[in-house]
């Protein structure tokens, strides 16, 4: 018998830890869980994956009319529809994956109370699945770019880095919210409100240039600020990468994610008892 499979079961003491080797062993389950979510999500719908495009598109239309036309919010000289749509790309991903992930442990309880597998897979699944929607939503951006004759600058090479920061931010919050949400179902009611507040706090309908210079770095602690302004710089070919915001936001996202992992590992040992 191989000692590699030696496993000791003991009462929880101190902080838990993430078993990376075990996560690697279950990598196929990751794949199947993501695939299950994608397959099941749009089953028996007429429009299917088109929904991934429709949501941000109509949000852009509404924002352009309300904030662009009526409220005349400045957009750094960029046509308002494309200005806000570029922000809605990462925002829709962030809000959507957060909402699904926060609820993920509660909805998967019937599975993980019957079978053991690394529970970390559960909140991470929506973060991966929503990337597909995110990619699809880019098609509309392509259309808008042609329409408004916008060409991305060379800074578009930093886009993957921004996507990484976007996923890391969503991961950190999802770990906290899902673990809390299993024991305190209040989270389910709080999350829609939270995402709405966070959306207006993020530069989705307004530019970061409205933030007074002395508060800029403090504001940058909110990682989505750097992500969204970065998306605009990379895709719309105006302005320079807001590296200050990205650096500050990256640091705070990292703290959030590492803290989330520790918290999740600590709570994980009680999941089956509180579900």
């Amino acid at each position: 018998m191989k000692e590699t499979y030696h496993k000791v079961i003991e009462p929880p003491r101190g902080w838990g830890r993430i078993n990376w080797a075990e996560l690697w062993h279950y990598r196929d389950l990751f794949y199947f869980m993501v695939w299950r979510q994608l397959k099941a999500l749009y089953k028996q719908t007429v429009l299917g994956f088109t929904w991934a495009v429709i949501n941000p598109f109509f949000q852009m239309v509404v924002f352009s009319v309300v904030f662009g036309r009526l409220a005349r919010i400045p957009s750094d000289g960029i046509p308002y529809p494309i200005f806000t749509y570029t922000a809605l790309l990462p925002w829709t991903y962030f809000a959507g994956s957060l909402t699904t992930a926060a609820d993920s442990l509660t909805t998967t309880a019937p599975i993980f109370t019957k079978v053991y597998f690394p529970r970390l897979i559960i909140p991470v699944t929506p973060l991966l699945a929503k990337l597909v929607d995110f990619a699809l939503a880019f098609t509309v951006l392509g259309g808008l770019m042609v329409w408004y004759r916008v060409v991305p600058s060379w800074q578009v090479v930093f886009l993957p880095l921004l996507v990484l920061l976007m996923v890391l931010t969503a991961l950190g919050l999802s770990l906290w919210l899902s673990a809390l949400g299993l024991q305190y179902r209040d989270v389910r009611f709080g999350v829609p409100f939270l995402t709405q507040v966070m959306m207006y706090a993020a530069p989705v309908v307004w530019p970061v240039s409205l933030v007074p210079e002395k508060y800029r770095l403090l504001y940058g602690l909110y990682p989505m600020a750097g992500v969204i302004e970065g998306f605009r710089a990379a895709l719309l070919g105006r302005g320079t990468m807001p590296w200050d915001l990205i650096a500050v936001g990256g640091a705070s996202a990292l703290v959030l994610a590492v803290g989330g992992l520790l918290f999740f590992a600590r709570r994980e040992r009680f999941f089956a008892d509180v579900a």
Binding site: M1, E3, Y5, H6, K7, V8, I9, E10, P11, P12, Y26, D28, L29, Y31, F32, M33, R36, K39, A40, K43, Q44, P110, I111, F112, T113, K114, V115, Y116, F117, Q183, Y184, R267, R269, F270, A272, D273, V274
Partner: protein, 427 residues
């Protein structure tokens, strides 16, 4: 000699149960409790995972001081009544939940089968679910690829493999789910009451598969209410009672001790309000097996009349359903009996339905009784899903008045009606 595959020492697990909350009886009281409820709710929810005091009326120990060892390749049965801690023990060993005290060492790749079809998604096809369920149970994609055809043919669903599972009959879904689980190849397997699925033929097939698994040198911990299955599969058994390990030894001795009734759970089974099985407005409160004097029995003679009584609460008016009891022995279904009509239970209340087993119907041996409550018009809708509830040991005292007459040797069959023989001299 190699180290044991499973080594459990002093394992304990406690849960906090919800105490009945005190309801205020005045308007001011209600208002005050509404204002303070967030705080008390928070304390209650946080209390689910904190145990400052390990005693108290709201704490129950599902397992206490359980210690045992299982050698590599051994097949061990775990028996005990509902709530004795059998499932909790498997959940702790599987890593699903953490123990409160003690320690367990597992040496080998472990897989648990606490419920078949975990993670089945009704919108996905049979094929997709096989992959998903297999991965949840710990198989890699390659392993599933290799066993896919075997799984599908074992489940007998070849024609429907690309149909969404929501269009399957419940029997088909369960067969497919069991087939996936049956093709796992861990070194240590934890199995909880999964043989009670499908029809009799499929159950026999499952039991056969379990025997194959046991025969391959796999270490198996097997929980069941089906004593016949435990006797057939396991060489050794553990008896749990109120969270403690009260008996350990050769299977036949342990099952006999269990059936002797000294550990409760035989003759009658009752559920607390919170745990009582049932959905859709029916709650099963208790099941009793009694003799003609109304005493609960765990042991009976072939000539006894037995009464199986289901007590249930009907919570909605006008429900129409029937009760069903299925008797298993020797690893197979002996017979099923249903109430002949789906009677309307016009008013909510507590009802009971009694099945009378006439003398000289059962054979000798242990019977495991499964009950269910359902309505059926084309499709079955269950109010109480089939579950094994009771066990009875039937013996023949050989007084000469039974179907045996004065024949005392082996006599086959799952039923033993007293039939008439006519002897005539023809010429």
């Amino acid at each position: 000699m190699s180290l044991p595959a499973i080594e459990v020492s002093g394992l304990g697990k406690c849960y906090r149960i919800g105490l009945r909350e005190e309801l205020p009886d005045t308007l001011v009281g209600s208002l005050a409790s509404w204002l303070t409820s967030p705080w008390s709710n928070f304390r209650r929810l946080r209390g689910l995972t904190r145990f400052e005091r390990e005693e108290g009326e709201d704490i129950i120990w599902a397992l206490r001081e359980v210690s045992f060892q299982v050698a590599e390749g051994e097949v061990v049965g775990i028996v005990g009544k509902n709530g004795a801690g059998k499932s909790t023990l498997l959940k702790v060993l599987a890593g699903i939940t953490s123990p409160t005290r003690g320690r367990a060492v597992i040496r080998g790749r472990i897989s648990s089968l606490l419920e078949v079809g975990t993670g089945f998604h009704p919108e996905l096809t049979g094929r997709e679910n096989v992959y998903l369920n297999g991965a949840i149970l710990g198989m890699t994609r390659k392993e599933i690829d290799r066993k896919f055809d075997q799984i599908v043919s074992f489940a007998e669903v070849e024609r429907f493999i690309d149909t969404p599972v929501k269009r399957y009959s419940s029997g088909m879904a369960v067969r497919l789910a069991f087939a996936v689980a049956a093709h796992l190849e861990p070194e240590i397997m934890l199995v909880d009451e999964v043989l009670a699925v499908g029809d009799a033929a499929f159950q026999a097939k499952c039991l056969g598969k379990m025997q194959d698994v046991a025969g391959q040198g796999r270490t198996v911990l097997f929980v069941s209410h089906n004593m016949a299955a435990v006797n057939r599969l396991c060489s050794r058994a553990l008896l749990l009672h109120q969270g403690r390990l009260v008996r350990e030894g050769p299977t036949t001795e342990v099952t006999a001790a269990y059936l002797s009734g000294s550990f409760g759970g035989v003759g009658q089974e009752e559920w607390d309000e919170q745990e009582s099985p049932g959905e859709g407005g029916v709650k099963l409160l208790g099941v009793r097996l009694t003799n003609s004097q109304g005493e609960p029995v765990a042991q009976a003679e072939v000539g006894d009349e037995l009464h199986l009584t289901l007590r249930y609460r009907v919570e909605k008016p006008g429900l129409r359903f029937r009760c069903c009891a299925t008797w298993y022995t020797q690893g197979t279904c002996a017979f099923s009996s249903v109430e002949p009509r789906e009677e309307v239970r016009a008013r909510p209340g507590i009802y009971s339905s009694t099945l009378v087993i006439p003398p000289h119907l059962l054979a000798e041996g242990e019977y495991s009784i499964m009950v269910s409550i359902f309505a059926s018009r084309g499709i079955k809708s269950h109010y109480v899903r089939p579950r094994h509830v009771l066990m009875v040991q039937v013996s023949d005292p050989l007084r000469g008045d039974s179907a045996r007459g004065d024949y005392a040797e082996r006599l086959a069959g799952v039923l033993r009606p007293r039939l008439r023989w006519r002897l005539r001299r023809e010429e």
